[in-house]
């Protein structure tokens, strides 16, 4: 296909030096005994993550090659969004990463606000932070639950996670009218103003969340099976992580200090004090631990935000949310979503619909390194490594 030579001199971290695709020679030498076994894991459930397929070549139990196959949930979000108005895409963003609808709303609202220059009132910023951190909490809780489920502990940890998630979903439902598809943020603010009772209820729920992190910590962190299965498995070196565009807890578990909440300081995150946990073994256990610690930091942010939330409007009264035509131009807005950097790239040609609408999906790009982490691992560990990436197929395939 290509007539340009692949540049030999370029960093070996990158994919250069690996000839074409599935047919390239294995990176790891098979031991020469027996045959390679090719297994298609999925698309009907390789684990609890949805319609994803991994084509794996095995030498005994060892993984020699792994090629992810995408597209089983490609729902044409971008194409549809280019045919409808800016506002009409908002409910579709809920369905990208369907575990965390509110952060998706937020990223999209942020990108449109960048494009049009709309201001967000202070109360709305606080609400966005509160909802964003609640979303992060429940995402990390479920992701730990799913990870342990994939380890073989069928049910129990996931049930604990979902117990907590239900509490948070109840808050979402009370505020936005929907458990999962909240469709809450708007360009220049939020859709409805919460009542004082809702805020009180949220404070109560948040106060109870510490108990959950403690419980998970006590139940799992020192668990011998968990440690044996995850420590030293699926190591991702920081240089590769940065080069491959890995973001979110995955990147920080590899010891790279890059949290967009701190780096960009978008919204009002610079007002809160919180830490960015970093891993130093770069393995699956670190990714589990980072999520646990991030949950604690989220509670800290939540407490501060719930304490200081000011009164005032939740929508900029001058903001136009429907029927506007941004000036021709483009904008890229990004936030630290629970799974990584979620970005929206919009090009306006002056019309009521975006000319180009692109979602930068953290889940897809984090999977770039899946093969590198899985090579040489045992087949049973592949599922764990895959689970530790924490993806949602709605976002991978869009």
């Amino acid at each position: 296909m290509s007539n340009l030579p692949v540049d030999e001199a370029i960093d070996p971290l990158t994919v250069t030096g690996r000839p074409d695709g599935w047919n390239r020679p294995p990176l790891i030498e098979p031991d020469g005994e027996g045959e390679l076994l090719e297994v298609a894991m999925g698309p009907h459930h390789p684990s609890t993550h949805g319609v994803f397929r991994m084509d794996v070549a095995l030498d005994g139990e060892r993984v020699i090659r792994l090629k992810p196959v995408f597209g089983y949930l490609h729902r044409n979000h971008e194409k549809i969004a280019e045919g409808i108005s800016y506002l009409a895409s908002m409910p579709y963003t809920d369905r990208l990463d369907y575990i965390c609808p509110l952060t998706n709303n937020w990223a999209y609202a942020l990108a449109v606000e960048k494009l049009t220059g709309q201001e967000v009132p202070e109360r709305a910023e606080y609400l966005r932070v509160i909802l964003g951190e609640l979303t992060r909490f429940q995402n990390h809780a479920s992701s730990i639950g799913f990870l342990i489920q994939e380890m073989g502990a069928s049910g129990t940890p996931l049930m604990y996670a979902f117990r907590e998630r239900e509490k948070i979903l109840d808050l979402f439902e009370e505020l936005t009218g929907a458990r999962m598809m909240c469709n809450y943020m708007r360009f220049g603010g939020c859709r409805v103003d919460p009542t004082a009772a809702w805020l009180d209820k949220t404070r109560k729920v948040v106060a109870g969340l510490y108990g959950f992190t403690e419980e998970v910590d006590r139940l799992l962190s020192g668990n011998e099976i968990l440690m044996a299965r995850t420590q030293g498995v699926g190591i991702l070196r920081p240089e590769l992580a940065v080069n491959a565009g890995v973001t979110g807890p995955m990147l920080r578990a590899s010891g790279v200090n890059y949290d967009i909440r701190k780096v960009d300081g978008y919204s009002i995150y610079n007002r809160f004090s919180f830490k960015v946990p970093l891993g130093d073994h770069w393995d699956v256990y670190d990714r589990y631990m980072i999520r646990l610690l991030e949950m604690r930091e989220s509670i800290k942010i939540l407490e501060q935000a719930l304490k200081d939330i000011p009164g005032g409007p939740v929508m900029d009264p001058k903001a136009k949310i429907r029927g506007f035509r941004p000036k021709p131009g483009e904008a890229y807005g990004r936030i630290e979503a629970p799974k990584g950097e979620l970005g929206f790239y919009l090009i306006s040609d002056g019309g009521p619909n975006p000319y180009r609408y692109r979602v930068r999906p953290p889940s897809l790009i984090n999977l770039t390194v899946l093969e590198d982490m899985a090579l040489g691992a045992n087949m049973a560990d592949v599922v764990l490594i895959f689970g530790s990436v924490d993806i949602v197929l709605g976002e991978v395939d869009r």
């Binding site: 319609v51 597209g71 490609h74 044409n76 369905r95 575990i99 979902f162 999962m180 709605g394």
Partner: protein, 204 residues
């Protein structure tokens, strides 16, 4: 079948259980519907939520999710079926042993839902396989899924084992396998299975 309902209850009070083969058979079938562990999109998360402690699907005898189609009785199409996935869904359905049932959960599985305009989205799974219960919603609440279960149980309960309208697995003539669509250059071929689905007629 010929036993009078009132007499049956009366006998039940005396400790005598009177039943018919059909009732017994359907009772057994309806209370152990094992779903296939298989989720497609956002609706699958609500399906998982249904199986968790709060909604507790186990109350209806359906908590045993089987990863293999051979061991499952029911398929919950929970989410958007894309054209890339549709052949696999049909194939999985074919691999399930009779008697088998399908719940189409959510707007997407019914008709494509919010993504109906998409070029890669199948406009309803009932174009290829027969569906027993449709649940509207985007996503349907866990309660709606529970209701679908109860509806399905009622349906099983009402089935006669002989004669017209008997379940497919007792009908030697019935179609067991459904053709798997092929992924063509532009679209799935054929775009629907005319044996299962016909284009709706608009009456004006």
């Amino acid at each position: 079948m010929a036993v009078d309902e009132g007499l049956k209850i009366e006998l039940g009070k005396q400790g005598v259980l009177v039943t018919s083969l059909q009732e017994l058979y359907n009772w057994g079938r309806r209370n152990s519907i094992w779903p296939m562990q298989f989720g497609l999109a956002c609706c699958a998360i609500e399906m998982i939520a249904t199986t968790m402690a709060r909604y507790d699907l186990a109350r209806f005898g359906a908590e045993v999710f089987r990863p293999s189609p051979r061991q499952a009785d029911m398929m919950i199409i929970s989410g958007t079926v894309t054209k890339k996935m549709a052949p696999q869904v049909v194939r999985l359905y074919n691999q399930m042993a009779e008697p088998k049932y399908v719940i189409a959960m959510g707007a997407c599985a019914i008709s494509g839902g919010p993504f109906k305009q998409g070029y890669n989205v199948l406009k309803g799974i009932d174009r290829y396989i027969p569906v027993d219960v449709h649940i509207p919603g985007c996503p349907p609440r866990p309660e709606a899924l529970l209701d679908a279960f109860i509806t399905l149980q009622k349906k099983i309960d009402g089935q006669h084992l002989t004669g017209e309208g008997r379940p497919r697995h007792l009908d030697a003539e019935a179609q067991g396998e459904f053709p798997v669509p092929v992924q063509g250059e532009h679209d799935l071929e054929p775009a629907s299975n005319p044996g299962v689905w016909t284009v709706p007629v608009v009456i004006r």
